[in-house]
C-alpha cells in the first residue's frame, strides 16, 4: 500500500512526465532538424533538450527518443560499438548504397 504522500508524489510524477513527453519529443525533433551533423550522440541530444527543458531527466529523454524511433521519425545509426541517433529524412541518403 502506498501512503497518501507517496500517491500524491506518484501522480505528480506521472503528470510531469505526461506533460513533458510531447514537449521533449518536440525539442528532440527541433535539435535533430537543425543540428550541424545529421547523426548525433544521445548525450548531445540530451544536452540540447535540457537547455530547452531544464527539468527533463535523461530517462525521460530516452523514453521520448525511443517513442520517436518506434514512430519512425528518428532512427538509430550503429557502428557496432557506438550508437547515434538521426532524423530519418536527413539520414536517408547516408545509408551505403549497393
Amino acid at each position: 500500500m502506498k501512503t497518501p504522500a507517496q500517491v500524491t508524489s506518484y501522480i505528480y510524477e506521472l503528470e510531469r512526465v505526461g506533460l513533458s513527453v510531447e514537449e521533449i519529443k518536440k525539442a528532440i525533433i527541433e535539435f535533430a532538424s537543425n543540428s550541424k551533423k545529421t547523426r548525433f550522440y544521445f548525450k548531445d541530444m540530451e544536452k540540447a533538450v535540457q537547455e530547452k527543458i531544464p527539468t527533463a531527466k535523461a530517462r525521460e529523454i530516452k523514453k521520448a527518443a525511443s517513442e520517436l524511433v518506434n514512430e519512425g521519425t528518428l532512427i538509430y545509426f550503429s557502428t557496432g560499438s557506438t550508437t547515434m541517433y538521426g532524423l530519418k529524412e536527413r539520414c536517408a541518403s547516408d545509408e551505403p548504397q549497393q
Binding site: 550522440y41 544521445f42 548525450k43 548531445d44 535523461a58 529523454i61 530516452k62 527518443a65 525511443s66 524511433v69 518506434n70 532512427i75 538509430y76 545509426f77 550503429s78 557502428t79 557496432g80 560499438s81 557506438t82 550508437t83 538521426g86 539520414c91 547516408d94 545509408e95 551505403p96 549497393q98
Partner: protein, 471 residues
Amino acid sequence: MFEPKRPQKALKYEELRIYTDAELNNYTEEELKEFKIKHEIPKVEELEKGPWPSFVADAKQEALRRRKLADDRMMIDRYVVEDLLGQLELSFNDGETHWKHGGIVGVFGYGGGVIGRYSDVPEKFPGIAHFHTIRVNQPASKFYKSDFLRALADLWEYRGSGLFNMHGSTGDIILLGTTTEQLEPIFYDMTHELDQDLGGSGSNLRTPSCCIGKARCEWACYDTQEMCYEMTMHYQDELHRPAFPYKFKFKFDGCPNCCVASIARADIAFIGTWRDEIRIDQDAVKAYIAGDIVPRGGAHRGRDWGKFDIQKEVIDRCPSQCMWMEDGKLVIDNKECVRCMHCINVMPQALRPGKDTGVSILVGAKAPILEGAQIAQVIVPFMKAEPPYDNVKEVIERIWEFWMEEGKNRERVGELIQRVGLPKFLEVIGLPPAPQMIKAPRSNPYIFWKEEDVPGGFTRDIKEFRARHKR
C-alpha cells in the same frame, strides 16, 4: 530454485528444422578436395597450411554446400561465402579493408543486436554487398542443446550466409553475413519460434555473460547463472535501447579464478569471494603430501614433475605468504589471504572457499580501443549476492547515473574514473575508501582528506608551529 521471468516455451525442434541432415551432407570428401571457389585466393589459402584448423577450410566446405543446395533452399546469394573469401584476398593484396562499417540497420524497436556491414566493391563481390552481423544472446554459461544449435544453424543457412562465430568476446553467438531484407524475418523466427533474444551492440548494456557457476563448479561462491539471468531480464531496456555514452559490459565469475576473465574485460565485474575462512581438511592435506591424492585434480600430468612438495608448490607460492605448516598441519592466516585461489586450485580436495560467500564488485576494465587497456579495480570488497539482488542493482544504477551524467561520448567508465580520480568516483557512488581497493594499502595513501574533515582546515599559524618545531 530457478524461476523463469516469463513462461518458457517448449520448443519442438523437429518442426523447427528447415533441412534434413542428408540435404546438408551434400558433398563427398573427393568433391571437397577438387573444389575451387570462383575467385583465385592464393594468399587466403596460405592460412590453411598452418598446424591449426583454419576458418578458410571451414568456409570452403560451406561454399561447396551452398553450390549444391537447391535454388529455393537459400534466401540470399549462393556465392556469399566465395565472395567473402574473394574480398579477403583483395584486402590482402591492397593492404586495406574493403568493408564499410556501420549503418542504419536494425530490427524494429531495437537499437542494437545488428551490425551493419557493406562491401565497398559490390560490383566485384555482389554476394557480400550487404553482409550484416547479428548478435544472439547466449544462454547462461553457454549451455545449449545440440537440437537448439541445429535449429539456429538451419535458420542461418536459409536466411544468412551459413557462417557463424562461437562466440564473440561478449559471449554472444555471432551470425555473420545477411542482407537488410532478411533481418526482420530472422528476428521474427528467432524470437517467436526459437524463443531466443538478440544480444547487445552499440552504446548499450552488452549481453551479460557468466561462468559455469554452481551448475558444474564447487568453487562458485554465488549462483552466477541466476544473477546473469536476473540482470539480463531486469535491464532489458538498457540492453536494447541505446542511451549510454558507449558500450557497457557485465560479467559474472563465481570465484577469483575468473574463468570469464571479467576482471580484464567487464565494466562491472562480479567476482565470487568469501569473508570467513578457507575450509581445510587436514587429512586430505596429509594425503596430498603423502602422494595419495594427485595434485591440481590431475591437470598438467603431461610430464613428470617429481613428488608433490607442499612447501615449494603451495606455501612458497602464496602471494601474501599467509600459510605455513605447524605440527604437520596446514595453517592459514585468513585475514592476510588475498583470494588468489592458488592453494585451493592445487589441493582441491583439501581446501575449499569459505561458507560466508558473496561477490566483490570491480569496475572499469576495458580493451585498448580509444585509450589503453585497463584492468578492473575493486569498488565493493564484499557484498552478499542473493535474489533479488537489490543491493547489487543499487550499486549498478549509481554507477550508471554518474557515468551517463559525466561521461564523455565514447568514454568507458574506467576512463571516466581515471579522468576524475577514484576519490571523486567513490564520493559520488557513496562508498567509503577501503584498503582492498588498492594494491599496496600500507604505503599508498588511498584516503584523501578534505579541508572540512580536518580540524582547523588546511591553514595554520606558522609562527605558532615554528615555536614548537625548529626549522
